[in-house]
Symmetry: C2
C-alpha cells in the first residue's frame, strides 16, 4: 500500500512547489520579453538584436532547431548599419538550450548559505564544493574527454585564474631568471598580456613556441582544439624539462571529435565553453602532481581566497543535467551535446556558404575524426571561425569593421592581420545577420 504520508512529505511538496515556481518565473519572463520587444524601437540597435534573439529563442519549440534559413531568407531589415560584435567569444548561443530545459537547472539559494570561506576543509582544494567535484568527474566520465582518476581537481574563477595559478605553481621563487612562457602561433590573444601584466620575476612571455630558441626553463601552453583556429594540437617545443599546460576548454563533442580521454600533467577546462555559462566564472584544473595542485590552491588563496560558492553550486547543477541528458533514459532530443553539435553544424554550413558566396574570404579546412562520444566521424566545428581575407584584403579586422562587423585581428594572436577571429557562439539572430552580411561583401 502506498504511504500517503510520504507522498505528501515536505520533500515532495517542495518539488511540486518548485515546479510551479519555475513555470511562473518563465511566464513572467516571457511577459517581460514580449513587453521589451514591443518597446525595442526605443533601444540602441545592438541591444535590440539581443532582445529579439531572446524572444525568438523562447518561441522555438523544436529541440533540434533549424533557426537560420528562415531568418536569412525572411524579411529581416538589416541595412548594414547595426554593429555586429563578434570580437569576444561570448557564448550566448547556449541560452536557448537552457531556456528550453526550463526548471531543470534552477537553483534556489537561501540567504544563510555560504557565510564560510571553507567548502571542504579536509580537501587539498579547501574551497572546492564537494558537489562540484563529483559532477566534474561524472561529466568527464560520461563524455570520455579526460582522465580524472587519481587527479586533483582545483577550481578557479574561470580558467584564466587557473592559467595564472599554473604559472605560479610550475615556476620557482629562487630561479635565476624567469621561466619562458610560449605557445605556437596563432595563440590565444590573452596569453601575452595575462603573462606579463604584473612584470613577474617568475615567468615571462616568450612568444611563438615554433620560434623558441632560448635556453632555460619554459612552459608551453597547448590549447587543443586551438583558440583561434580550431585545430587539434600537440606540443611543438619538445625539449627535455619543458613543462606543458593543456588548455582543453574546447575539447567537447559539440566542437570536435572526442578521440581519446586526455591524460596530461595539467588540464584546464571551463563552464564558459562547455555548458555556455560564462557569467558564472567557473573553471577547473585536473592536476596529476599533488605539490603542483597545492601551489595552485595557494595562488588562488592569495589572489581571491577561493571561488564563488554560489557559482560552484550552479555549475554542479548544470553539469549534472548535462550528464543526465546523455544517459540512456534521457530523451534523445534533449541530449546537450547532440543539440549543440547540431547547432554548430548548422552554423558552419551557413558560414561556409556565405564565404563561398562572398568570394572575399577563406576558412580552414579540417580532417574528419572519429568521435568516441557520438560514435561517428565528423569534421571539427570550432567555437571560432578563423577567417582570412583574400584578394588583397591585408587588414581583415579593419575591412570587416568598415562593414560594421567587429572581429579580432590576427596580430593579437601572433600572426598576420589578414586573419580575424570571429565568434561562432553568439545568439541566433546575431549570427544569422553576420552570415547574411558577410555573403554580400564583394571586392571591387
Amino acid at each position: 500500500m502506498v504511504n500517503l504520508r510520504s507522498l505528501f512529505s515536505p520533500r515532495h511538496m517542495l518539488v511540486l512547489s518548485a515546479a510551479l515556481n519555475v513555470s511562473l518565473v518563465l511566464k513572467i519572463i516571457r511577459q517581460r520579453r514580449e513587453k521589451v520587444s514591443r518597446i525595442s524601437m526605443e533601444k540602441p540597435k545592438d541591444a535590440q538584436i539581443a532582445e529579439e534573439s531572446k524572444t525568438e529563442a523562447s518561441s522555438i519549440q523544436n529541440m533540434h532547431p533549424t533557426p537560420s534559413p528562415l531568418a536569412v531568407n525572411g524579411g529581416d531589415a538589416d541595412d548594414g548599419r547595426n554593429v555586429i560584435n563578434l570580437d569576444h567569444g561570448d557564448p550566448t548561443m547556449y541560452e536557448r538550450y537552457w531556456q528550453e530545459m526550463g526548471d531543470k537547472t534552477t537553483v534556489v539559494i537561501p540567504g544563510w548559505q555560504f557565510t564560510s570561506y571553507f567548502s571542504d576543509a579536509g580537501n587539498l582544494c579547501w574551497f572546492l564544493e564537494p558537489e562540484l567535484a563529483k559532477e566534474i568527474a561524472q561529466l568527464h566520465k560520461v563524455v570520455g574527454n579526460a582522465i580524472t582518476e587519481g587527479r586533483h581537481i582545483v577550481v578557479g574563477t574561470g580558467s584564466s585564474q587557473l592559467f595564472q595559478a599554473a604559472l605560479y605553481a610550475f615556476t620557482a621563487n629562487d630561479a635565476s631568471e624567469p621561466f619562458s612562457v610560449v605557445s605556437a602561433a596563432p595563440y590565444y590573444s590573452s596569453y601575452p598580456a595575462a603573462t606579463d601584466c604584473l612584470k613577474s620575476g617568475l615567468y615571462k612571455w616568450g612568444g611563438d613556441a615554433r620560434n623558441f630558441t632560448k635556453t632555460g626553463p619554459y612552459i608551453e601552453l597547448v590549447t587543443s582544439p586551438n583558440n583561434p583556429d580550431g585545430f587539434v594540437r600537440q606540443s611543438v617545443v619538445n625539449r627535455s624539462g619543458g613543462i606543458l599546460v593543456h588548455d582543453l576548454a574546447y575539447y567537447w563533442p559539440q566542437y570536435t571529435p572526442i578521440t581519446s580521454a586526455a591524460d596530461y600533467e595539467l588540464m584546464l577546462f571551463t563552464v564558459s565553453k562547455s555548458t555556455g555559462h560564462a557569467g558564472m566564472r567557473i573553471g577547473w584544473a585536473l592536476v596529476k602532481d599533488q605539490s603542483i595542485a597545492k601551489k595552485m590552491v595557494k595562488y588562488i588563496e592569495l589572489s581571491t581566497i577561493g571561488v564563488s560558492k554560489d557559482s560552484q553550486l550552479r555549475a554542479a547543477k548544470v553539469m549534472k543535467v548535462v550528464s543526465d541528458s546523455c544517459g540512456a533514459s534521457a530523451r534523445p532530443r534533449e541530449n546537450f551535446f547532440g543539440y549543440c553539435h547540431h547547432l554548430m553544424a548548422e552554423r558552419w554550413k551557413l558560414l561556409r556558404e556565405a564565404v563561398k558566396q562572398s568570394g572575399t574570404f577563406s576558412l580552414p579546412e579540417f580532417e574528419p575524426g572519429f568521435c568516441n562520444f557520438f560514435q561517428c566521424l565528423f569534421e571539427p566545428l570550432p567555437a571560432f571561425a578563423w577567417l582570412k581575407g583574400e584578394g588583397g584584403v591585408e587588414d581583415c579586422e579593419s575591412f570587416l569593421k568598415s562593414h560594421n562587423i567587429w572581429t579580432r585581428s590576427g596580430r593579437h594572436f601572433g600572426v598576420s592581420p589578414s586573419y580575424v577571429r570571429v565568434s561562432m557562439l553568439d545568439r541566433d539572430i546575431t549570427f544569422v545577420c553576420f552570415v547574411k552580411r558577410l555573403s554580400q561583401i564583394h571586392l571591387g
Copy 2:
C-alpha cells in the same frame, strides 16, 4: 473594487509559492540537521561543534539573543581536547541572523541566466551587475560610512582581488623600480605574501610603514578599523606623492562607531565582513579617479574576466535586505546592524571577563566614539581580538595551541609573537567554548 485577476496573477502566485518553498526548504534542512546531530558522534569533534552550532542557531527564536551565558554555565562537555580553530576570520557568526530572516534573501536563478560575460557593456566596469551597483550605493547611504557620489564602483572576487587590482592600477609599467607597498604594523597578515607572490616588477612589499625610509614612489595600505588590532587608523608616512589605499572592510556599525562618511581616493569593502557572506567572494572598490578605475577593471579582466554574476545577484539581494532592515518601517529587532552589534557587544563582554578571570592575557582598550548611525556613544567591538600573552608568555600562538586553541601569531602581522589574533566571528558554540577554556588558563 479589488481586481481579483491581478490578485491571482503569476507574480502573486510566485510570491506565495516561493514562500511555501522556503518554508519547505527550511523544514527539510532542519530535519537533516536533527539527523546529523543524532549521528554526530561518528564525526570529528571539529565538525561536531559546527553542526551543533547550526542546530542550536535554528532553534533560537529571540532575535536579540543572549546565547552565551546559558551555554557557558550549562553542562557542556568541553574536556579541552577539541580543537577550537580561530585562526581565520571565518564570519559564520552571521549565519544565525540570516537563518532568522528566512526567505527574505533567498535567490532563485534559472539555468539560462548568465551565459554572457557582460553585465553592463556600457559601464566602465562592464562586469558589474547594475542591481549590485545600486544596492552598494544605497547601503552606504543608509549607513553613512562612505561617499559614493561621483565614484566609480569596481566589483571584485573579494576585496583581495581588488587590492591587487589597486596595486596594478597605481603603479607604472615603465617605472625604473618597483613601487614600495607599506602598511603600519601590526598589518593584515596577507599583505606581504599577496604583494610579493609573483615577484612583480611593478611593486614590492616594503614592510612596516612606520619604519619606511626608502625614497621613491610608494603605496600605503591603511586598514581602518585595523585588522588585527581594531584601532581606527590614518596614514603614517605622510610624504608627498604617496598613494593611499584604504581598506575599510570593518568600517561598519557592528564593529566601530561610524563617525563620518569616508571620502578617500580608493576605498575597499567586502560582503565577507559586512553581511557575513564570505563564501560569495564579493568585494567592491569606490574609486575617485576614472583612469585608476579603468586600470583596475583591466586587471580583473586579465586575471578572471570579471566576477561571478550569481554571487553579485545574491550580494545585491542581501544588501537590499540589510538596507531595508534599517528603515523606519522595519521591525527594530530585525535591524541587521543592531542585531550584530548586540552580538559583538555580548561577545566582547564575555571575552573581557574570561581574560580577567585567567590573568594570563591582556586586550587593547578603546576610546568610545559617537556613532552617527546608532546615534550613541560606544567603544569599538572589533572582528578580531588582539590578545597579548602576559607573565612570561613569549610565544602566545604556541602557548594557546597547547590548549588546543588555534590563533594567528603576531609575527605574521609584523610584530612580536607575544600577540595573537583571534577571530570573534565564529559560531556561538565555538566562541563560547573558547572563552570558557581561555578563562581557565592560569600560569604556574
